[in-house]
Symmetry: C2
Amino acid sequence: MDAKTVKVGLVGFGTVGSGVAKIIHENGQEIAERTGIRLRLACVVDKDTTTPRVVSLPDEVLTDDLGRLLDDKSIDIAIELIGGTTTAKDIVLKMLAAGKHVVTANKALLAEQGGDLYRAALKAGRCIAFEASSCGGIPIVSALRTGLAANDITALYGIFNGTSNYILTRMTGSGAAFDDVLKEAQQKGFAEADPTLDINGADTAHKLAILAGLAFGCRIEMKDISIEGIQNVQIEDIRNAQELGYVLKLLAIGEKDPDGRISLRVHPSFLSEETPLADVDGPFNAVSVFGNAVGNVMFYGRGAGMMATASAVVADIIEIALGTSERLFERMPMVTEKRKAANFKKIDDIQSRFYIRIMAKDQPGVFARYGQVLGKHNISISGAMQHEGAGPENTVPVIITTHPTRQKNMTAALKELQQLDILRGTPVCIRIVDIPEDKE
Amino acid sequence: MDAKTVKVGLVGFGTVGSGVAKIIHENGQEIAERTGIRLRLACVVDKDTTTPRVVSLPDEVLTDDLGRLLDDKSIDIAIELIGGTTTAKDIVLKMLAAGKHVVTANKALLAEQGGDLYRAALKAGRCIAFEASSCGGIPIVSALRTGLAANDITALYGIFNGTSNYILTRMTGSGAAFDDVLKEAQQKGFAEADPTLDINGADTAHKLAILAGLAFGCRIEMKDISIEGIQNVQIEDIRNAQELGYVLKLLAIGEKDPDGRISLRVHPSFLSEETPLADVDGPFNAVSVFGNAVGNVMFYGRGAGMMATASAVVADIIEIALGTSERLFERMPMVTEKRKAANFKKIDDIQSRFYIRIMAKDQPGVFARYGQVLGKHNISISGAMQHEGAGPENTVPVIITTHPTRQKNMTAALKELQQLDILRGTPVCIRIVDIPEDKE
């Protein structure tokens, strides 16, 4: 069978866009042999048409005129790689209106405006493919939509943000403070000049919204996710984690109760160092999915970066060219209204174990008073640790870990603890997440 | 969108067949909501129509008459789950001739007779889906065909056989000998009454043939794979592995050189205990894939068993019902003749590090004589270990690890070592496999 030539248009010739061009250039022959699809990058649109990239394009391909891409009827597939949610949305809608199938890596756009886009795509009889939007090169979107489609998915746990994970890994390894490690990460190119969305958990939550929507097959909006980032993580707590046999990770959690109630959360989490996810270091991502038939399936790989993300973008182009994406998009309910409403569990009702660090005046009876407050709120202590030696201004840090406790009770207890006259500063409270084991 | 009802026929109502029926029964509603496909198990064929299974079927569904399935024009999708390569082949050909798409979990059939079947399917205008044939519930077939399709795949490493892995894990944990652990595994149901294909590496090689064919996009036959099983693994070598920082695993290896030459091997392998694959224990499978764009992607999950395998079978049914499998099968060259010929690397030319254990008479000069033989064959020693205390009949075990060495040289050296008068028994030689690291 001769390979079928497929013309592709690209908007956004930055890092990932350059990676896409590089893959098509370098792997094009291999892709044609294996898939029967010969990709041709016919039009690349970017404001900047002069700065050299890792791949140089013929003059007639690179343009700053979006209209050239939209008007070229021979281009069936258009890729949006400019990021952001305003111009990008406008461009995607224009691509669909011009009759193009769309590939995007834009998680913020899909998580926040996906409904409008999917509706427009269905109306136009075109599809939107978005494997690259979550976890870079890991084919997790495809796994959740089809590979694991036979399962009732009960939970997914993920490390979705390479920048946060790099910072936490470096803090753990070097013992350096958050601000210093962030600066280093920026210098090395592992963090953006403005890393806000990475470190405040929003990027992780965008991916969770997309993946949990596929996993649980229900409507999910950003407001349904409880989000805490790593910006307040202190090195003391990372050290204490190590001493207690835990590793601190920014974890995305989607869980479904036996009664069908869903909880979605992003927060710094203590993971047992025995858990496979605890070994996921630096810029890597991983997702652990639990299905009622398959048990635990785990996926691991590069979650971002030029080539890994481009790998997913090009996979989506190939699937559109093969005709499979369109079939999936037509048949599987992506549009919000066609998905069932989720029954969300209130964050107050979530059960978790907790790690608490309290700085208090070093005087007799302190420990007993903590214990009283926790006991009053029905919180059972599973461990406690107080090192000798004082903190600043004659204070001592007391570490307490709890048995599973309702969030509501912990919130109330923390509030009461803060009113104690012996306390200094705000207590630190980090959830200990017990990822289920799938053992023979 | 209303769910579309799809009627399915099944041949082979054993363990996996029962799992398929259970999933359709228990997850059918969830599957319909998420995929728009409502599955109906319309006909189940098995010689045994009386033994109770985990799911009971209506009388009119279970039959011992294959003709009923073949003649029912309302059944579009037929599943082959009887195993073996003779009757199964005949049944699959009949299913295709009757106009059914086929789903199979039969790795031996595909690895050994796939060419004939794919040809028959193309001729009949039908597809064969086989996600369940390799690594149970892990969607690795789909990942290699589409999710990673943008990559030039340079290597894959896998633990593909749960029985072998269970035995090696138990030997490592308990220090018990192979025969004892095998008996225990049979009693617990982790090994078949006849475990030959599991422990001699053939089952692993079947899966490697299927997956490497997809990864490298070339023709692969069983004769192209060098196979050693675990049947001769001795507990001493597992203990030595631990002392040296390695874990012994039965590994499937597919590698492509920069010059495009492919090597395919299945053999017991020492893996650094730092390698993620070294942590894959018991009945679990894992695959580590290296692509030139994506870097290292790893997949982990249950490689066998009723529900995990059934999860993959039902995923294939859903993809056929969605129309995506057919598209893939049409466009991507599955049939041997349409794939390019592989340029295989001779096993003699493969480079590896080696672990050697030699039993020899405990007398002066022994070590020097080993060193001479190895040096003569251009083999450089990287480490050596000789514990005090003698073995049987005044012998001592000497452990040697080497730097990367050509297989040819090692084979010649072993032959020469065996002719030394100081040697007792046959030297043990196990390859040390260095899985590449994908680090920032």
